[in-house]
């Protein structure tokens, strides 16, 4: 199984759910992947203090101006599709936190003053052992493009472990949104659990995440988190029914969830008998049936 946890909307409980699920499934040889390179958080819940492996990541290339050749003609500035070039005090400058490295500026520069330079570092991938299985996380330097490519690299490592028989299954905690990181998280996954909460926002975002999962022909399931905060709202249930998606669990609002984060522990470890932990345990037995 390669299980991806997604939601579209941020802050609905993906990380709480996936860290606890990983704990509960520890006897089934899962590798755990944090696929939110722009705001990785899983390592905080596992409270990892020692990394077994740190890999520098340097896929990204950026445009660089050779000022000995530049005449500040502004052709680059006018044609940058990402509005990443500006003029300051008569000098043309590249905003590195916006550049996509497409080289349109380099192609158009009449003085051949712009080259795409590879960076030495644009992020890292880290690997650690946890009590629940090997864990991979990554962090992209802020303002960089293509976080999805970093997620793809992480998944390559996890799949290599699986090929070598070190793990049997993979669980991927995806980022918020439906862009490149989530597409990379879903690509090649066998199952998806979409986490939603009973709000219009969450329903709208979850349905967009479902569209993606469907596009990748991934079998999807829904978990409703904080299901009791808005009992009148039946949108998620109706959406699941209309699309033939099974709702495999409902997690109640539980103050132990933020507390477990404060103490840097997975919820099912921090308060094993809390309402929310019990609900996640029920879901984990459903997931076990799918293995």
């Amino acid at each position: 199984m390669e299980l991806v946890i997604a939601s579209g909307k941020g802050g609905v409980g993906k990380t709480t759910f996936s860290t606890s699920l990983a704990v509960l499934l520890k006897n089934h040889n899962f590798g755990i992947v944090d696929a939110d390179a722009e705001a990785p958080n899983m390592h905080l819940i596992f409270d990892i203090s020692k990394w077994d492996q740190e890999i520098d990541y340097a896929e990204k290339s950026l445009a660089e101006i050779d000022y000995s050749k530049c005449t500040h003609c502004k052709i680059c500035l006018e044609n940058c599709p990402y509005e990443a070039i500006h003029e300051r005090n008569g000098k043309v400058e590249i905003k590195k936190y916006l550049c996509e490295g497409c080289n349109v500026c380099g192609i158009l520069c009449p003085e051949k003053a712009i080259k795409i330079k590879s960076k030495e570092h644009s992020g890292w991938i880290r690997v650690a052992k946890t009590d629940y299985g090997p864990f991979i996380t990554s962090e992209l330097d802020v303002g960089q493009p293509n976080s999805g490519k970093l997620v793809t690299e992480e998944k390559k490592i996890a799949r290599e472990w699986r090929k070598r028989g070190e793990i049997k299954h993979i669980i991927v905690d995806s980022a918020a949104g439906i862009g490149c990181q989530v597409i990379s998280s879903m690509s090649g996954a066998s199952h998806a659990i979409l986490v939603g909460e009973p709000t219009k926002s969450s329903l709208s975002d979850l349905s967009r995440a479902y569209y993606l999962a469907n596009h990748f022909r991934i079998k999807s399931y829904i978990v409703i988190n904080k299901y009791d905060i808005n009992p009148e709202f039946t949108g998620i249930k109706d959406f699941a029914y209309d699309n033939g998606i099974e709702i495999i669990g409902k997690i109640p609002y539980d103050k132990n969830v933020p507390l477990s984060m404060a103490y840097k522990k997975p919820l099912v470890i921090y308060s094993e008998n809390s309402k929310a932990a019990k609900a996640i345990k029920d879901i984990s037995s459903v997931v076990e049936q799918l293995l």
């Binding site: 722009e38 705001a39 509005e83 192609i107 999805g148 949104g177 862009g179």
Partner: protein, 284 residues
């Protein structure tokens, strides 16, 4: 004046802060609330407004004229996204979802073999909440990898509003698509929560802001939910602390701003005080 609301982590309350400060400011000014979370735009739900005035947005997409193509492969080599692959016979072929529409391929082709095609990547909307407040929404088409161009389209569409104040509500994350949404802001509000997760991600956002040469002001949402060691963010100016509030949750669920529904409650007063501080800096 442009204000950006961001935060790194998802679900910290960015949109709640954005709709409430937009509502307050719209009492006095013409405000555009720009929902730049193009992957998952939600501001219109929080103000019970339907998306209106759709405009489909297109980016460039290469259209190969194979009669003119000499199989030089320059377009393949110059595509930074690796979106152009070579067929067996040597002709280029596009993988549409990877294409970012930058035109590098067309620019390097010496043989005029790449014509202007276009690809729809989503839509922008202008939805009036009231006379003074318009929500500008960007919606990326599902399956598109690149949210960046859609953020730029949304910012451009916002120009149509003739607003005195624009409020940019960004997506979660810290990548360049978030930087693009923040870039034209005079002032940035970074919303976080008192968990180690919120703290970790606010540090990433503040790091991004310093690269952009912008000053960020922190709002701690649900500040009383769990004890928090504030020394870890002592370097950042805190502009407001919102307690965990059933009333805010209720307003969220009802699709209304709390400042409109309960102008006298303590939460609304906190939003008012944030705006008061912001306006006292005379950025308008």
């Amino acid at each position: 004046m442009n204000i950006a609301v961001t935060g790194g982590k998802g679900g910290t309350g960015k949109s709640t802060v954005a709709i409430n400060i937009a509502t307050i400011l719209s009492k006095k000014y013409k405000v555009a609330l720009v929902d730049a979370d193009v992957e998952c735009p939600n501001d219109h739900f929080l103000l019970s407004t339907n998306l209106k005035n759709e405009k489909k947005e297109y980016i460039f997409r290469p259209r190969f004229e194979y009669k003119k193509c000499v199989k030089c492969s320059l377009c393949v080599k110059n595509c930074a996204e690796n979106a152009i692959v070579m067929f067996k016979e040597g002709y280029p072929f596009l993988i549409p979802t990877l294409c970012s529409g930058c035109k590098a391929c067309q620019l390097v082709c010496h043989f005029d073999a790449i014509q202007n095609g276009q690809k729809e990547i989503g839509s922008t909307y202008l939805s009036k909440v009231n006379e003074n407040l318009t929500i500008v929404t960007g919606v990326l088409k599902e399956g598109e990898e690149k949210s960046y161009p859609m953020v730029l389209f949304t910012k451009k569409r916002a120009e149509e509003c003739g607003a005195e104040i624009k409020i940019f509500d960004t997506s979660a994350g810290t990548g360049n698509h978030v930087a693009a949404a923040i870039e034209s802001a005079d002032l940035v509000i970074a919303v976080t929560e008192p968990t180690p997760l919120g703290i970790h991600d606010i540090k990433m956002i503040m790091n991004l802001l310093s690269k952009q040469g912008k000053k960020g002001y922190v709002v701690i949402n649900r500040s009383d939910l769990i004890p928090m060691d504030k020394s870890v963010i002592a370097d950042y100016p805190i502009i407001g602390e919102l307690p965990y509030s059933d009333l805010i949750v209720q307003c969220y669920l009802n699709g209304k701003s709390i400042v409109e529904s309960y102008p006298e409650c303590k939460e609304s007063k906190i939003f008012e005080s944030i705006i008061k501080k912001v306006m006292s800096w005379n950025l308008l």
